[in-house]
């Protein structure tokens, strides 16, 4: 719905966003521009600084453009083998979590929902913690037991929550699912606590997973996660109209032509898959999946056709910058950065909007 393109003499900004918001396409292009800038900065900066011009040159040359090499081979290795996969991982994880968060918020019709709300986080955490305790080390395609078990744990937790929490007919709200997610999550958290208690010297490794981080990024891990995250996110974006229909509730969505039962199951599966893949390569990066969709809605409104792609771009920008911050501050967990920077920013924005979030 291109509100910006129509003449709306009567429209006034009662909702606390500009009546003539810039078109979603303009915002998306601007966002992509910012993202490109963030990528160059994030690839250039670090313990070994590479000049921005050289960074750009290395990146463009890697893309196949005829650029003369004026940099050292070491700089090229640092940029292409270490920093670039890391930055691209941040883009995938940030974008994927933002899309999954927007999908969960729309499906559960709850602004407090985030990608982890149905047990993905606790399932992944328990899987990762168990992997840390198992002394056996096998690595396949750069994926260790930790990645495999956290991915499987996230999906298994959602599957259990969906099995237990569904019910009340095809048009019942998903409140039951939300409560089941909470209960199952608590149970898994107890398992996690026990595992951490037993972990001894491996505790730090579990903590690193819980707080999230891109330091283990590699091309191979990206090759595993990127298709799942990108494919799942695109499939979610293609179903944006379902989320729009659900704005007014399950039964209203059915009256508007949405096959609620089927579409809801598909979207839950896709959002869970995206979340699980993101968590497997980056740990539990918090806040991006909750905040990015809300920030976008404050500007463009609730239309999921605009919210989902823009949230993906914003989530990617936020995580690239957060990871850069984490790196420059001496490899502190990226989850700490997203929360410390994101939470106050979010609070300010919420206070600035007139309409409260009612539950």
């Amino acid at each position: 719905m291109s509100i910006g393109g129509r003449s709306l003499a009567l429209a006034r900004a009662h909702v606390g966003r500009p009546a003539r918001a810039p078109g979603a396409v303009v915002l998306a292009l601007a966002g992509l521009g910012v993202l490109a800038l963030a990528v160059v900065i994030a690839v250039a900066a670090g313990s070994v600084a590479v000049a921005p011009g050289d960074t750009l040159g290395i990146l463009l040359r890697a893309l196949g453009l005829p650029v003369d090499r004026s940099w050292s081979p070491a700089a090229e290795t640092i940029v292409l083998e270490l920093r670039l996969p890391r930055v691209l991982t941040a883009i995938m994880v940030g974008g994927g979590l933002a899309v999954a968060g927007a999908a969960f918020q729309g499906l559960l019709r709850n602004p407090l929902a985030d990608p982890y709300v149905l047990g993905t986080a606790s399932g992944a955490a328990l899987g990762a913690a168990i992997a840390v305790l198992i002394p056996f080390r096998a690595v396949f395609l750069d994926l260790g037991l930790l990645h495999v078990l956290s991915f499987a744990g996230a999906l298994a937790a959602v599957a259990v929550v969906y099995r237990l929490g569904r019910g009340g007919g095809p048009f019942a709200p998903l409140t039951g699912l939300l409560l089941t997610g909470y209960a199952v999550g608590s149970l898994l958290a107890a398992g996690l606590a026990m595992t951490m208690f037993l972990a001894g010297s491996n505790l730090r490794q579990i903590f690193a997973f819980l707080l999230g981080g891109m330091e283990g990024a590699s091309w191979l891990r990206l090759a595993f996660a990127a298709p799942l995250i990108a494919g799942g996110s695109i499939a979610i974006v293609a179903r944006a109209r379902v989320l729009n229909g659900l704005l007014l509730g399950e039964e209203a969505a059915a009256h508007l032509g949405v096959d609620v039962h089927r579409e809801r199951a598909i979207l839950l599966a896709l959002a869970s898959l995206v979340t699980a893949a993101a968590v497997a390569v980056a740990g539990l990066v918090g806040f991006v999946g909750l905040v990015a969709p809300h920030l976008v809605r404050l500007v463009v409104g609730p239309d999921a056709r605009r919210v989902l792609p823009l949230a993906a771009i914003l989530g990617a920008i936020l995580l690239v910058l957060a990871d850069l911050g984490a790196r420059l501050l001496g490899e502190i967990p990226v989850g700490v950065v997203t929360a410390v920077v994101g939470a106050p920013f979010f609070l300010v924005l919420l206070r600035g909007t007139r309409s409260a979030y009612e539950l």
């Binding site: 129509r6 429209a11 009662h14 729309g106 704005l247 007014l248 509730g249 508007l256 949405v258 609730p302």
Partner: protein
């Protein structure tokens, strides 16, 4: 003219409990029908059966001549627009964005709404007379305003049959009358058939030429208000003194507070 919606011998059971028992009902194009009856009579269930949300145990349901069971949700949504009962929005949503949701069954699924959809939204907003609310957050409106917005959504849906479940509940008298007049106007001028569940018999009798009285899952009367709301039938169906209805219709607005007494069956 063939009926725009028809139920023939429809029986609905929730588990083992029969809620609709052998109902026959046909709505002609452009008709205006109020569904009345006590709580639990099966009125709302009947609407849901018509919209294909509840599958009957027995009987035939058609919309525009085609069996509902064979229609996709989108196809049903293009034949029947239902005004949502209660609508709690999880996010700040402008009135025009709410109305635009009515275009979901018409939009191109990939390219989104086109000029025809924008025009339909503008027309619905103008038709219902909520132009001044256009940019407001729908969650901050009064209940009366909210009801008009939801009706505008259904108008934007542009289906030949408009279905409403208790559209005047919780509204003050002024908004009750406003909603009723709007429905009558949409029916008369745009030719939209209207089927509304109503609890207020006086409103139903005043604004609807045809009433269908449901009790215990059966149609016990169907016809013009004067016949359907005959005193002995009101007593039998609702278990109240029929004089109440006549009294309500003749209330003096300046009279002191009205006390209503009901008698058992």
């Amino acid at each position: 003219m063939p009926p725009i919606a028809e139920l023939a011998g429809v029986t609905v059971a929730y588990r083992e409990r029969l809620v609709i028992r052998g109902v026959d009902l046909a709505i002609a194009p452009g008709e205006r029908v109020a569904l009345v009856g006590p709580n639990g009579a099966g009125k709302s269930t009947l609407l849901r059966v018509l919209a294909g949300l509840v599958v009957p145990r027995d009987g035939r349901v058609t919309l525009g001549g085609d069996p509902v069971a064979g229609l996709s949700r989108a196809a049903i949504a293009r034949r029947l627009a239902a005004v949502p009962g209660q609508a709690a929005l999880p996010f700040a949503t402008r009135v025009e964005e709410v109305v635009a949701l009515g275009r979901l069954p018409h939009e191109d699924p990939f390219r989104g709404p086109g000029p025809a959809d924008h025009a339909a939204v503008d027309r619905a907003i103008e038709r219902v007379g909520i132009g001044s609310l256009r940019g407001r957050d729908a969650r901050e409106l009064s209940l009366g305003e909210r009801q008009l917005v939801l009706i505008a959504l259904a108008v934007a849906q542009a289906a030949p049959l408009l279905v409403l479940d208790e559209p005047t509940v919780h509204l003050d008298l002024r908004h009750q009358v406003a909603v009723m007049e709007l429905l009558a106007d949409l029916n008369r001028r745009d030719g939209v058939a209207v089927l509304a569940v109503l609890h207020d018999l006086a409103l139903a009798a005043h604004f609807f030429p045809r009433l269908v009285l449901l009790d215990g899952g059966r149609v016990v009367a169907d016809g013009p208000p004067a016949r359907v709301l005959a005193p002995e039938r009101i007593r039998a169906t609702f278990g109240v003194d029929p004089a109440i209805l006549a009294g309500l219709a003749a209330i003096d607005p300046d009279a002191p507070e009205l006390t209503v007494g009901t008698r058992g069956r």
